[in-house]
């Protein structure tokens, strides 16, 4: 139950943190950490302007996306408190739920009939082509260490134990791959610039140009939630073996991730659009590397 609370409350904290970090990096004071919450609540109270060419998809999409993402989040363990739902092989469902959310949002973007949103939609959906196999392979890699179980217990069983060099390697691989996926999926620099003002260069933001009010709030929340999911996956892996305060570690890791993201954003520039896909290939190749290593190991090493 406690973890549900975390899942519901924590997401919007990440964007605030990131923007605060960026502000500090460039020497501004920056907005308060809770700004996204205020923003969210304000949006929920607003009415909407709907495009004249919108069909039922536009009206339906945000709620479906949010609920799918939320259900996906329910499988993710928070701290040592096990996740609400879990069964053998649930990560497949998680992956496809996220895909469902993405797909419905893409349709919603196409629904407005604006060429810019179409552009964003096509960019957004192109990424999934490489991220889904990457996620699959990462999961397969985790299975090597702890058998075919649920996402929860996969992450609980210590992937990285300090006496085993293999696990260190694989864990590092996995974390790096997941981190890049986090950047892509939650539309951060270097793949996407959430607060640019040129639609031609946007991906996620341009898809939701025609949304406003309540729906926009849901969409923002969904994006943050998705980011939290990936962050907590990474966090679970990073919790060391003999830690006492799991929750503390967890929060530490998540906030650390936010910090790193912010720093990355302020250090790096956004990549050229047509280079993006090549970068999205990176998690795939890394996970292939990891799985190759694991197969070799399970056959008794080289």
């Amino acid at each position: 139950m406690i973890s549900l609370l975390w899942i519901l409350l924590l997401p919007l904290f990440m964007p605030g943190l990131i923007s605060r970090v960026k502000a500090i990096m460039v020497g501004r004071k920056g907005q308060s950490l809770l700004q996204p919450y205020y923003h969210f609540l304000k949006l929920l109270r607003k009415d909407e302007v709907i495009s004249s060419s919108a069909s039922f998809i536009t009206r339906l999409a945000p709620s479906i996306a949010l609920s799918a993402t939320l259900c996906a989040a329910l499988f993710v363990p928070v701290g040592r408190s096990s996740s609400l739902l879990s069964f053998q092989g649930d990560f497949i469902l998680v992956l496809y739920l996220l895909a469902l959310a993405k797909g419905i949002m893409v349709l919603a973007a196409m629904d407005s009939g604006s060429s810019f949103e179409g552009m964003g939609a096509s960019r957004e959906i192109s990424f999934t082509a490489f991220l889904e196999p990457a996620f699959m392979l990462i999961m397969a890699g985790l299975i090597f260490t702890s058998g075919f179980t649920s996402l929860n217990s996969l992450l609980d069983s210590y992937i990285i134990n300090n006496h085993e060099v293999w696990s260190l390697v694989v864990g590092a691989f996995t974390i790096f791959a997941l981190f890049i996926m986090l950047l892509v999926e939650s539309a951060r620099v270097p793949f996407d610039d959430p607060n640019t003002h040129l639609e031609l260069t946007m991906i996620h933001e341009v898809m939701i140009l025609d949304y406003s009010g309540f729906s926009l709030g849901l969409i923002h929340y969904t994006a943050a939630l998705k980011m939290l999911i990936y962050a907590s996956l990474i966090a679970q892996i990073m919790i060391p073996q003999n830690a006492q305060w799991h929750m503390g570690w967890y929060l530490l890791c998540v906030l650390g991730l936010g910090l790193v993201t912010g720093i990355v954003e302020s250090m790096m520039a956004r990549f050229r659009m047509n280079r993006n896909l090549e970068l999205v290939l990176v998690p795939l190749s890394i996970s292939v590397l990891a799985i190759a290593a694991l197969i070799a190991r399970s056959l008794g090493g080289w």
């Binding site: 339906l60 609920s67 552009m119 960019r123």
Partner: protein, 636 residues
């Protein structure tokens, strides 16, 4: 059983009097009975084979049904009558002469599809097989104008496939001396390969699938729905028949794996770049056949590696996908028929915004899209989930090929799934969303209710089998047990599926809740789409079909052969230059066409001997006489 088939035979009579309504009703009735009986066969009773003794050389023919064929029979018995019903209403919208013959051949097609499952005698099997080919050919060339070329191509391809079968069965006949299907068990390699190739022609494995994207776009919607949803499954039936009765070495499995992967990938990338609804659907049939093949490979690999769970789930996934694909592919083809009726075009770049004028069609199409791109709530997800679930069992099991190919198949399945998502979100978005791109789409009307009945049934079926995840598995389980697979872990898997459906229920409820909240406390005000500062955007500025997949183009390009067509425009006269790209089938362009050209050239060489002169004719006669005299007296 006999009553059902009697009714189906009787359905020919109203067909000859152009009573398509009565025809489809009889089909519904008969298929209902037959489906019930098939299910009985699957679950409980076994039908006694009955022998018919033909005079020499056919001999006594063994006609009966196994659980496997009962499974396919059920799929057919569910799919065919819906197709007939849709055809009835579709033909009302598409009035054309030759209804009588069309219905007749339709009935023959359905009957022969059922008949294939009963024949356990290779010669009779071949006869029914050929009957199926020819009847489907006549169904394809219904409109008798544009469809002739593609139909001809189709029937000749089928003939070559049938020739493979003929040679294979001939070898079997020589080997065992009988036509009975018992000879299929661990048969020698050569006939087995020939049979597999012959069946692969019908099933549509790359590189033997070039007939699919040609025949389907020209066929009437219900025919292409039935062919692509059901008839190609007959090819799979043959393949599975052989897979079950023979033992395979690892290499053969891997080759099969490779072919399936290629089919899936090839199909899906062509589906992404095609701009004709039915072409997209045809290519995605190839993709789905590939996925089914992957499922079968997983099963075989599991058997080979001694991982029972992997084997069971692989086969289970394959059977589930056969069943589900027959539903959503048929649904999508029928819906393409709706679109054609409403807007008189299948080119998606002329369409757009149909969701507002044809809401029902749009909703059904959305359901089909969700199912075919393996998203949760659709049944395609369940089958792929099963296959993936099976593959994950290979991870960490200490068997190299299972692990390596498991990993490969994992990523391929996920990759293909994602590409399918792209292809079909493109299809749905460009047909139904946004604004109408051209006149045809602007004044489209929703189709009459009749056309939507079968679609409603199929849509509900998809949602049911997708939501209640165990439904399909219950249907498949007896066959798995009959295949003597290890059923210990099926129970756990069923609990898993139950949990999946619980989660799906949560998703649905949650989104319904959110939607209701929004409905209650949000006031909408309509305004134009924001053009990002551009003052007068027009529908033709919307993202087109090719633009949508452009981000991936630079890595798709190497795999697809494009033919660019450029039409010079003249700005003064206001004619815009048109640059169109179309994906062409490399196998057809670089193998079939050159070969046929070469053959006709070769035959042309000899076509001058008929010069009309009696003298030369007699000269041929004399020359031939002298030649064989020399040959016989000299050489022999």
């Amino acid at each position: 059983m006999s009553i059902g088939f009697l009714i189906l035979f009787l359905a020919i009579i109203p067909a000859l009097w152009k009573r398509s309504g009565l025809f489809s009703i009889l089909w519904l009735l008969g298929s209902g009975i037959i489906a019930f009986e098939y299910l009985e066969v699957i679950y409980s009773r076994t039908v006694q084979d009955f022998m018919i003794s033909f005079p020499y050389p056919i001999g006594t023919a063994n006609i009966g049904i196994s659980k496997l064929s009962a499974f396919f029979g059920t799929v057919f018995a569910i799919g065919l009558p819906l197709g007939m019903l849709y055809g009835h209403f579709y033909l009302k919208q598409h009035p054309s002469e030759g209804i009588r013959s069309h219905l007749f051949w339709l009935g023959i097609l359905g009957l022969s599809m059922h008949g294939i499952l009963w024949m356990k005698h290779s010669l009779l099997f071949l006869m029914v097989w050929e009957l199926m080919s020819i009847s489907s050919f006549f169904c394809v060339i219904h409109d008798r104008q544009q469809s002739l070329k593609a139909g001809l191509n189709y029937i000749i391809t089928m003939q070559i496939g049938a020739a493979f079968l003929m040679v294979g069965f001939g070898l079997m006949f020589i080997h065992t001396g009988s036509f009975d299907f018992n000879g299929l068990e661990n048969m020698p390699r050569l006939p087995m390969y020939l049979l597999l190739i012959g069946f692969a022609f019908k099933a549509g494995f790359v590189p033997l699938a070039s007939w699919l994207p040609q025949a389907h776009p020209v066929a009437p919607a219900h025919v292409s729905g039935m062919m692509s949803g059901l008839m190609i499954k007959a090819g799979l039936y043959g393949i599975i028949l052989i897979l079950l009765t023979n033992a395979f070495s690892l290499w053969e499995i891997l080759v099969f794996c490779l072919l399936s992967i290629i089919s899936a990938f090839w199909g899906v990338i062509h589906a992404m770049v095609s701009t004709n609804i039915k072409k997209v659907l045809a290519y995605s049939s190839i993709e789905n056949i590939g996925i089914i093949g992957i499922g079968l490979c997983v099963g075989l690999l599991g058997k080979d590696a001694g991982i029972p769970a992997m084997a069971t789930l692989g086969f289970a996934g394959a059977f589930l996908h056969i069943f589900f694909h027959s539903m959503f592919k048929a649904l999508l083809f029928y819906l393409s028929g709706n679109v054609l009726v409403a807007s008189h075009t299948l080119e998606i770049d002329k369409l757009g915004g149909l969701a507002k004028s044809m809401p029902f069609t749009a909703v059904y199409f959305l359901v089909g899209t969700i199912a075919i791109s393996a998203l949760p709530l659709g049944n395609g997800f369940i089958s792929e989930f099963t296959i993936l679930y099976g593959i994950f069992h290979a991870m960490g099991a200490n068997d190299l090929p299972a692990m390596v190919f498991g990993a490969v198949l994992l990523s391929v399945l996920a990759f293909v799934g994602a590409l399918a998502l792209i292809a079909f979100s493109k299809l749905f978005a460009i047909i139904f969303l946004g604004e109408a791109r051209q006149e045809e789409a602007r004044n489209a009307q929703e189709c009459p209710r009749g056309m939507r009945i079968p679609q409603l049934v199929l849509g509900l079926g998809i949602l049911a089998t997708g939501g209640i995840a165990n439904l399909g598995l219950r249907f498949v389980k007896p066959i798995l047990r009959w295949m003597a697979l290890d059923m210990t872990m099926i129970r756990d898997f069923q609990t898993t599926l139950n949990q999946v459906s619980i989660v799906l229920a949560i998703v649905v409820l949650l989104s319904a809740l959110l939607y209701l909240i929004r409905r209650m406390c949000v006031r909408e005000s309509i305004s134009a789409t924001w053009g990002c500062g551009y003052q007068k955007p027009n529908p033709r500025m919307q993202y087109g079909s090719y633009a949508f997949v452009h981000p991936l183009s630079y890595f798709l390009k190497p795999f697809i052969l494009f033919s660019k067509k450029q039409k010079q425009g003249d700005m003064a006269k206001g004619i815009n230059p048109i640059n169109s790209m179309e994906a062409v089938d490399p196998i057809f362009k670089y193998i079939v066409e050159p070969v046929s050209k070469a053959m006709s050239w070769f035959f042309e060489l000899f076509s001058h001997i008929h010069n009309g002169k009696t003298n030369s004719y007699i000269a041929w006669c004399l020359g031939f006489l002298i030649l064989i005299i020399i040959w016989v007296l000299g050489v022999r």
